[in-house]
């Protein structure tokens, strides 16, 4: 069965610093991979997704992620974090159609 791990439960960065959130997946073939963000008290919003092709994908809000098959990873990055990026971030992979498996989430705190 597909699974997703996010090794970091909580990350704190200073505003303006760069960010990398880790995601590892377990999947037999090339997976579809997604990153969602959940702002406090809100639902999840899609940041970006990878299906095939270029392994570096651009998303909204200045985020990007890189698919690395050799490492079974799909890490999310942002060169300069803003205070409004403080949120919970979820990596996800579909397990049969639209039956998504979500990672446990990484909470991002941003220091002024």
């Amino acid at each position: 069965a597909q699974s997703v791990t996010q090794p970091d439960i909580h990350i704190t960065v200073s505003e303006g610093a760069s960010l990398e959130l880790r995601c590892n997946y377990s999947y037999g073939a090339t997976p579809y991979l997604f990153w969602y963000v959940q702002s406090p008290g809100q639902g999840l919003q899609l940041l970006l997704k990878y299906f095939s092709g270029d392994t570096l994908v651009q998303g909204i809000k200045g985020f990007e992620a890189e698919f690395k098959r050799s490492q079974s990873s799909f890490n999310l990055r942002k060169p300069s974090v803003h205070w409004s990026d403080a949120a919970e971030y979820f990596c996800a992979v579909p397990s049969g159609g639209q039956n998504f498996v979500f990672g446990p989430g990484t909470r991002l705190s941003v220091l002024p």
Binding site: Q38, Q42, G43, L44, L46, F90, Q98, F100, P104, G105
Partner: protein
Amino acid sequence: DTAVSQTPKYLVTQMGNDKSIKCEQNLGHDTMYWYKQDSKKFLKIMFSYNNKELIINETVPNRFSPKSPDKAHLNLHINSLELGDSAVYFCASSQGLAATDTQYFGPGTRLTVL
């Protein structure tokens, strides 16, 4: 012009009661979902409906019964509420069932069972 809306946003109730959460999407999507997010933020799918037909029914107690009166609505009814039902429940929708279809989430309903 909210895409996926849920009511109520907060729901506080006593054990043993029956309650419903409503969800509506105005995106014209064919597929809708219910997710449960526990206190540790773990998000797990409960149900999905496509064109009013049940597609996914994860291991959820039969006290939970989804109802889809039309493609734009998917309501969740919960009987005999238990303490462990306390969670945030999210509704979502997607164009179809393809793994490549983006899911759009509602703002969530925080259910507290006392």
